[in-house]
């Protein structure tokens, strides 16, 4: 029998209610008086607070005119005399716009309008009897603040039609009724609420609307409708909701994303300004604002608004949250970078407000390294908040919302991974969804629901607060409490004995491509992390006072670790800004590092691995530059002159594709992959399958192009042709280099495989002309190793990762983040893979696959296109990675020798890694940061007592013996 779907074509009662709701909204404004003498001047922002103008002067701006330009800022002004009939009333300024506009009247910032709000209160802030000089600065985005807000989405585009600006009065009765309907209609349309209650609502909302007469000359029945809702709907307590939800207001502000960092200054101003005005109108309103860097820009460029902010901090309404300087990516930065995020963030808050914060507020970051809890705890941070694992995981439901997060060294912090998105607009359905998704109902106390528009700032609206004021009248809602971030954390997590423990990294099962996208940025970040270490060390050793300069450079560097800059998820101009910053920072650091007559080993252990030193007369080549491979054999923190060995004997042989070195017998395939790698010392074969094989996969993750690699990426592989088969290209007394040129239809890939006379490492240098679209290049190594785990460097210890796919948890971790090395070993030996700036790696059974390059097109259509040069080094070894000293090899590989005339007079602190040495923030001490990276416990006896510090450089004790435990980071002051 054919099935005939019955479609209702006549208007349903709910549609009739919706229609009249739209009519009702038209009566919100009582009076609207158009400002007709507006003038506009189009510009484009080129630097912080610097603009290029399209014209010498202003032009008139009339309703219906086109305004704004691509990436445009517009300055709009008018002198306004308020008409007599409006004086004495509560006046608003109204401008419906897609742009983000900050409004100044008579020199004072009054408020802002943007796609999320079209009006701002005027009358308490201005004298309506005098001429009001309006000065507006608007910034227009094709991508609105928040694509989740349909009204915002509908007005996107770089050229906008001006809809007029008005001085107006509001019909408070209508506005209040509109808020009532908005609240109740949201519940009526949400299947998260009781079906019978929704039927009741649909019936009674229709009845309430029936009180209003829309046909008369004037709107009547508003009061009656309001009364009906109060008596029939809000008084009804038959339907009981459950739950206990904490509502924390905030705004997510990406410092750069679909906009440049220079624009975040005004985005932040507008966001702060709007929240301050809401605080004036709603004294109970509290708002949490993160990222000390944004406070610095406000203080620098808008000191009057900053002073207002300070007052609101004092009265408890404006809450600084988030100890970190910006909300950084928490996968790729190394331990010292994350410590500096906390140090400079906390110091900034301390200077501005006389206090630190005890939370890390990282709602949008793409997973969190296992090294974080220790860093947070030692930086005065007891609480950690980050949303994405709950709402974005693509495979497993993260099993906690309120819990204890245990770090790699055993440090615990209280953690909250709220059940739902960090951008909501306080609608009942969103709050109900949060409660229903909340896992820790029995032991976690309240659930955290953040509200406020964001990505580009904007924050809370009057509408959100009006919704919140009505929640307690609805028995069907969970219990809702508006609270500050710190209050929520202290109340529900502190000393909560019922909380479960999560011991491990907070891996995000999404955005796995961000370990690889924008290869240049990752490499520069790695290189500069090392240069900061060297520069600070040398200034301390040489007794130079460069603290101020280095701090400023560090801050600029930390900004570029923001979670849409370093991960690569940004538009092209953001990339250009980052690269310009890196160049400026590197030049400055090189200048600080300077030069000298001898080489200095900045590592606090013996430097015993071959190192390439540039020399125009050298006989080897690396990255296109001549030089020599030297074996420094330098004790920790010592100086030496280095000379080439002078060895000129035949130490390797080549017979077709077979190569003999002192360590290995290698059989190449024509494409540079290894058919065999026989270890003469260990008498074993290392190859079992494709090994050092370049594989290029079709990489089409969809809308989250720059962010994601999908689990099925291996399904389609493109052919990599051998343009020029492997052959010997260079050899001297220390190294032998074999070259191969590979190619696809669009790209060429030159690989140089380097063996050494006196080293077990096998270096592979890659020089690539990359012109692909939606491809992922990986180097794959199928090892003759039986193991179920791989070790990955975290920069402050190693993490074990399973290589099988037994459960969905391992299946989801098909691509993970590592730092300088990873390793697969049996108890007798294994293979380490060391890199100089690659972070993505996958493991499956006996294979390691290092992610090398991607080619995404959203948000940057040219992402990663161009020339690339990078190296990785294979190190087959005896024993496991720890006993083989792989971490030290990787540190040497990533720490170039420098020339410096200096003498180290302090202990070397071996076997701990000297992670940093710097002048203390107060300038009174030398601060030394040591890191245990091998998972061992022990003691270091010192000749003199030292101060024991936390990471904020507070003195916590004194000792002449440093006791350390596995993966501990210890800070001392001398």
């Amino acid at each position: 029998m054919a099935h005939i779907k019955v479609e209702r074509r006549s208007m349903r009662p709910e549609e009739w209610t919706d229609l009249r709701f739209g009519w009702l909204k038209r009566y919100i404004y009582n009076e609207k008086w158009e400002i007709e003498n507006l003038q506009i001047r189009d510009a484009r922002q080129v630097k912080e607070m610097e603009f290029e103008y399209y014209s010498e002067d202003y032009r008139p701006l009339k309703k219906g005119d086109m305004y704004f330009t691509p990436d445009g800022t517009a300055f709009i002004k008018a002198d306004v005399n308020i008409p007599d009939n409006l004086k004495g009333k509560e006046l608003w300024f109204s401008l419906k716009t897609a742009a983000e506009i900050c409004v100044k009247v008579n020199g004072k910032y009054i408020g802002g309008v943007d796609p999320n709000r079209e009006r701002m209160l005027l009358s308490p802030y201005v004298d309506v009897n005098s001429t009001l000089h309006f000065d507006m600065m608007g910034y227009n985005r094709s991508k609105p603040d928040d694509e989740r807000n349909p009204e915002s989405l509908s007005v996107r585009g770089c050229r906008q039609i001006f809809e007029g600006a008005y001085i107006c009065t509001i019909n408070e009765a209508v506005q209040s009724l509109v808020y009532d309907f908005e609240l109740l209609l949201d519940i009526a349309k949400s299947d998260l609420f009781n079906e019978d209650y929704r039927a009741f609502l649909n019936r009674e909302l229709n009845n309430a609307m029936n009180c209003i007469d829309f046909d008369g000359d004037e709107l009547t029945g508003v009061k009656e409708a309001k009364q009906y809702l109060e008596e029939v709907v809000f008084s009804n307590d038959t339907y009981k909701g459950t739950g206990d939800v904490a509502l924390v207001a905030h705004s997510h502000l990406d410092i750069a994303y679909y906009w440049r960092r220079i624009h975040a200054v005004q985005k932040n101003l507008r966001t702060v300004l709007i929240q301050l005005r809401l605080m004036d109108r709603y004294p109970h309103f509290k708002y949490a604002h993160t990222q000390p860097y944004t406070y610095e820009t406000l203080e620098k460029y808008y000191p009057d608004v900053f002073e207002e902010l300070k007052e609101k901090v004092k009265n408890g309404q404006f809450e600084p949250v988030g100890a970190m300087y910006v909300e950084p990516d928490c996968n790729v930065p190394n331990a010292e970078s994350l410590i500096r995020q906390c140090l400079y963030g906390q110091k900034t808050y301390e200077r501005m407000f006389g206090k630190r914060v005890n939370n890390a507020w990282l709602p949008d970051v793409f997973g969190n390294s296992w090294i974080l809890p220790q860093i947070l705890k030692k930086s005065g941070v007891d609480y950690f908040v980050s949303n994405k694992m709950s709402t974005w995981n693509d495979t497993n439901r993260f099993p906690h919302n309120n819990f204890i997060w245990r770090g790699i060294d055993g440090s615990d912090v209280y953690a909250c991974v709220p059940p739902t998105h960090f951008i909501t607009w306080n609608m009942p359905s969103q709050i109900q969804a949060n409660w229903e998704a909340y896992i820790d109902k029995d032991q976690g106390g309240q659930t955290l629901n953040m509200f406020g528009y964001g990505d580009g700032g904007s924050g809370c609206t009057e509408e959100m607060l009006e919704m919140m004021n009505r929640f307690e009248k609805l028995s069907v809602m969970p219990k809702c409490t508006h609270t500050s971030g710190a209050e929520f954390l202290e109340k529900n997590l502190k000393n909560n004995k019922k909380l479960q423990v999560w011991d491990g990294e907070l891996y995000l099962e999404m955005h796995r491509g961000t370990f690889t996208t924008k290869s240049y940025i990752k490499r520069a970040n790695r290189r500069l992390e090392e240069k900061f270490r060297t520069a600070e060390m040398l200034t301390v050793v040489r007794g130079e006072d460069k603290k101020e300069e280095i701090t400023e450079l560090y801050k600029k560097f930390l900004i570029n670790q923001f979670h849409d800059i370093l991960p690569g998820s940004h538009i092209h101009p953001v990339y250009l800004d980052a690269m310009a910053d890196y160049e400026e920072i590197e030049n400055a650091l090189d200048k600080i590092i300077g030069s000298g007559s001898k080489y200095f080993n900045t590592l606090n252990f013996r430097r015993d691995a071959l190192t390439f030193v540039e020399n125009k007369k050298g006989t080897a080549t690396r990255y296109g530059k001549k030089g020599n491979w030297l074996l420094p054999d330098m004790p920790a923190l010592s100086s030496a002159n280095l000379r080439k060995s002078g060895f000129s004997g035949n130490w390797f042989t080549v017979n077709n594709n077979k190569v003999e070195t002192p360590f290995y017998t290698i059989v190449f395939n024509n494409d540079g992959s290894f058919a065999s790698l026989y270890d003469k010392e260990l008498s074993r074969e290392w190859v079992k399958g494709d090994f050092n094989k370049l594989k290029i996969y079709v990489d089409c993750p969809g809308n989250y192009d720059a962010w994601d690699i999908l689990p099925n990426y291996r399904e389609k592989e493109i052919t990599v042709n051998v343009v020029s088969p492997v052959s010997l290209v260079e050899g001297d007394g220390e190294s032998a280099t074999f070259g191969v040129t590979l190619g696809t239809e669009k790209s060429t890939w030159e690989m140089k495989i380097r063996f050494f006379r006196r080293g077990r490492g096998i270096e592979v240098e890659n020089n690539v002309n990359w012109n692909e679209k939606h491809k992922l290049a990986k180097a794959e190594f199928n090892c003759n190793i039986l193991t179920r785990k791989a070790l990955c460097d975290t920069s402050a210890g190693f993490i074990e990762r399973e290589t099988h796919r037994n459960t969905t948890w391992q299946q989801a971790r098909f691509e993970t983040c590592h730092h300088k090395w990873c390793d697969m070993s049996e108890s007798g030996g294994g293979i380490a893979l060391i890199n100089d700036g690659k972070y993505g790696v996958g493991f499956l059974d006996n294979s390691m696959s290092l992610s090398l390059l991607r080619a995404t097109e959203r948000p940057d259509v040219t992402s990663d296109i161009g020339e690339h040069s990078f190296c990785y080094m294979l190190v087959p070894h005896e024993n496991d990675a720890v006993n083989a000293g792989i971490n030290r090899l990787a540190l040497q590989y990533n720490t170039p020798l420098v020339k410096a005339d200096c003498e180290w007079k302090l202990p070397t602190f071996e076997p701990l890694y000297l992670q940093a040495i710097k002048k203390s923030e107060d300038g009174k001490m030398t601060v030394i940061r040591l890191c245990e990276q091998d998972g061992k416990r022990g003691k270091i006896k010192l000749a003199e007592k030292v101060k024991l510090l936390n990471m904020l450089e507070d003195v916590e004790g004194e000792a002449d013996t440093i006791e350390y435990k596995p993966f501990e980071i210890i800070t001392i002051g001398i």
Partner: protein, 77 residues
């Protein structure tokens, strides 16, 4: 014209998450390829009119822009 598009206008569109590339100029008909956010913009015609105005002001040439949209694969529906 190509230099002007690439060096003067393109950075502005890029700042907005968009992208424009010069394709050809034939007797006053300027063909441009739009990518990124521009490729799916509902009001791209306003931007192309602005481009025509900018070219007229800066290069003193009257052109009519023909827009080719190159949407990313995941939005090309």
């Amino acid at each position: 014209m190509e230099k002007y598009i690439n060096e003067v206008l393109a950075p502005k569109l890029q700042g907005d998450g968009g992208w424009v590339e010069f394709v050809s100029l034939n007797e006053g008909e300027l063909t441009l390829r739009f990518r990124g956010e521009c490729s799916k913009c509902l009001i791209l015609h306003r931007c192309t009119e602005w481009i025509e105005q900018e070219i007229k002001r800066d290069l003193k040439k009257n052109v009519k822009v023909v827009a080719i949209r190159k949407r990313p694969y995941f939005q090309d529906v």
